[in-house]
């Protein structure tokens, strides 16, 4: 707007200029004005003196006119001075047409001069300013008051197409999506001269992308499992549309927000799924813990078995060797007198055995030589290891 004011300023000036004859006439009448006062006196006799006075008056008024005109000219040219703000660029039009192409046509921030309006026109564009556009087709209506208070309107049983925004997901479900795009102007010329309102087209590109991306994602993927993928798809689509339509803007997808949620009408059901999924994860985690314990224990048991095997092996070999050694040691003694050796060893062993035995019964042969009958009563129950000795 300020830019328009500028251009109008000079316009008005030029008008006063073009009315050049106006001031001229005025000057005349003016000169008559002051002339009127002295005229009555010299009108009749002194023609010379009145002409003289008139010419003097004319001269002085011409001088005034000249000064005024010179002032106007100076004003006219001075009105072409303008500044370009720090976040802006400006484009200078010559008789309405752009004076250059691309970067060369852009006036950078600072003080500049141009011819006033009908010749040059200055269009300022807030190039570095960040513009924000929010999608308008995917969310339920929230009034600004509710948004400020962090409240939500109550959810009805259905979604009214006239008021409620939503998207359709790939699995035929409904969800709400809101995207916020922050962009800068990258091609100021296209931005101002090619489009009536870029923000409308950007918003619709965003709206289009909401539906395009939603149409490929299931509600679970978009709202939970693959949020980043969904955002990526959406942003790719926006970028493609912006490029295809040459909207003259650029944006960083990382600076943009995408929110996708299931409809509030089915929120409880979605929460139940989340809970079930958590339970599942918990059950699996517990099982994994148990499995780890089992594995660790198994490792230990296996080691024990292996070690026992090894110990047995050592024992077997050692005892065989010991037996063999013992045998070799006794052999000469045995060969020299087998009977003696036998008796001696047997007796020794018997002594040891008898010494160890808890109960010893000695049955003496009957005097008549007939065998004795011996009856042994064994407990039906097996003997307990620590039980007191049975008689």
């Amino acid at each position: 707007m300020s830019d328009h004011d500028h251009s109008h300023g000079p316009n008005d000036h030029s008008h006063s200029h073009s009315h050049g004859p106006g001031p001229d006439d005025h000057a005349h009448s003016h000169s008559h004005g002051p002339g009127d006062a002295p005229v009555p006196t010299p009108e009749a006799p002194m023609e010379d003196s009145s002409t003289q006075a008139l010419s003097d008056a004319l001269k002085s008024s011409f001088l005034v006119v000249r000064v005024v005109m010179a002032g106007l000219i100076v004003l006219f040219f001075a009105s072409g001075i303008f500044t370009v703000g720090p976040q802006e660029v400006a484009i200078k039009l010559l008789f309405g047409a752009s004076t250059g192409k691309g970067e060369a046509a852009l006036l950078k921030p600072g003080l500049h001069w141009s011819f006033p309006f009908p010749i040059n026109e200055i269009v300022k564009i807030p190039k570095d300013q960040v513009h924000t556009v929010i999608s308008s087709a995917g969310w339920y209506p929230v009034t600004p008051q509710q948004e400020l208070a962090g409240q939500e309107p109550p959810a009805g049983a259905t979604l009214n197409p006239a008021a409620d925004g939503y998207t359709l997901t790939a699995d035929g479900n409904i969800m709400h999506v809101k995207a916020t795009l922050r962009y800068r102007i990258s091609d100021p010329e296209a931005y101002v001269f090619q489009f009536a309102a870029v923000s409308n087209l950007v918003q619709n590109a965003l709206n289009n992308a909401l539906h395009h991306a939603s149409g490929q994602f299931t509600v679970d993927k978009a709202t939970r499992q693959d949020i980043a993928g969904f955002k990526g798809k959406l942003m790719t689509r926006v970028q493609a549309l912006v490029t295809a339509q040459n909207l003259g803007i650029e944006f960083d997808p990382r600076g943009c927000d995408v929110v996708a949620i299931p409809p509030r009408q089915v929120k409880a059901a979605f929460d139940a799924v989340l809970e079930a999924e958590n339970d599942k994860r918990k059950a699996v985690n517990t099982a994994e813990g148990d499995a780890n314990t089992t594995r660790t224990k198994a490792e230990a048991e296996a080691d024990a078995i292996r070690n026992a095997g090894r110990a047995d092996a050592t024992r077997i070999v050692q005892s065989a060797k010991a037996d063999a050694d013992y045998f070799l040691a006794r052999l000469p003694e045995f060969t020299s007198n087998p009977q003696l050796f036998r008796d001696r060893r047997l007796t020794e062993t018997m002594a040891a055995v008898l010494g160890n035995a808890q109960e010893k019964y000695f049955i003496v042969e009957r005097t008549d030589g007939t065998p004795r009958e011996l009856r042994i009563l064994l407990n039906r129950e097996p003997l307990k290891p620590a039980a007191p000795k049975q008689p």
Binding site: G96, A283, V353
Partner: protein, 301 residues
């Protein structure tokens, strides 16, 4: 020519009036054309300073040449598979042939928008009618025909708009897709059912996975134990083989070997909690027999 200033001023005034009558500007964002005595010239005038004959002869008609955003109505359309869906389409349009535009819409832009709306509606209905609902939404991106649908609509709209209205429709896109209000409730019910199914599925999966994990651990355990047993048996076997070599020595005197073995066995067997019942023939109690026999001579033997 008394005063050169008057002359210059007059000249300037003349110049200004002349330029106002004979020249005109077309701004960068505009297109224009001239009419000569009301008859339109063919040429479309581009931005810049242009020449024309003064007013009663030629007149300039200017139009905004920038792309405008236009949105149709969010209305029902029937897909090929007889599903009612709501589609809202937006277009980006601009005036490229101002003469044609002026002729078609003497009422101006509002007039044009009304015509554009019906044009967009018929293109939308025609295109939606040739596509299944699955072309609009599909889990398989390859089967999604979103772009094709938009392209088809654009082709129809752009052709007519250019030919009849002098407009270029630069872009066309679907802004909104939806179900009729009554259908949304059914969708919610279906979504709830789906969720319940998912809950059951997760519960089942939890049990199944847990069992799977536990049983696989058990299996690993028994494998490990079996391996260990095998290894232990193997080492025992090797030890036996080794021992057998040692026992070869015993063959030098079998009698002694057997005797020693017997002794060892006896010692081992009768180690603890043993009850021994012996008769007098067992050594060393055979000594007692001799005492017995010493007594006996009084008896039978």
């Amino acid at each position: 020519m008394r005063n050169p200033v008057t002359f210059v001023v007059g000249l300037v005034i003349l110049l200004i009036f002349g330029s106002i009558s004979f020249l005109f500007q077309v701004r960068e964002s505009e297109v224009a054309f001239l009419t000569t005595f009301g008859k339109a010239d063919e040429a479309v005038i581009k931005p810049g300073l242009r020449f024309k004959l003064p007013w009663p002869i030629q007149k300039v008609h200017r139009f905004d040449a920038r792309v405008h955003n236009f949105e149709g109505k969010f209305e029902e359309a029937m897909t090929l598979d007889q599903r009612n869906i709501l589609v809202l389409v937006y277009v980006g349009w601009r005036i490229t042939e101002p003469q044609k535009f002026n002729r078609s819409f003497p009422g101006g832009v509002d007039d044009a928008k009304r015509n554009l709306e019906s044009l967009v509606r018929s293109a939308k209905n025609a295109t939606v009618g040739t596509h299944n609902f699955s072309d609009f939404i599909n889990t398989d991106p390859a089967k999604l025909k979103f772009d094709e649908i938009e392209k088809e609509m654009l082709l129809q709209v752009a052709g007519t708009a250019k030919e009849k209205f002098g407009l270029e429709v630069k872009s066309l896109g679907i802004k909104r897709l939806g179900f009729p209000e009554s259908v949304t409730q059914k969708v919610f019910e279906r979504m709830k059912e789906e969720r319940q199914r998912l809950v059951k599925q997760f519960e089942g999966e939890g049990d199944r996975d847990a069992t799977k994990i536990r049983s696989s651990a058990e299996r690993e355990r028994s494998e490990k134990l079996a391996d260990a047993e095998a290894a232990a048996t193997r080492s025992r076997g090797e030890a036996e083989k080794e021992a057998a070599k040692a026992y070869k020595t015993l063959e030098q005197n079998k009698e002694l070997a057997v005797f020693l073995q017997k002794l060892a066995s006896m010692e081992a067997i009768a180690k603890e909690r043993t009850t021994l019942i012996l008769d007098q023939n067992s050594s060393p109690f055979d000594l007692l027999r001799s005492t017995n026999s010493l007594v006996r001579p009084a008896g039978t033997k």
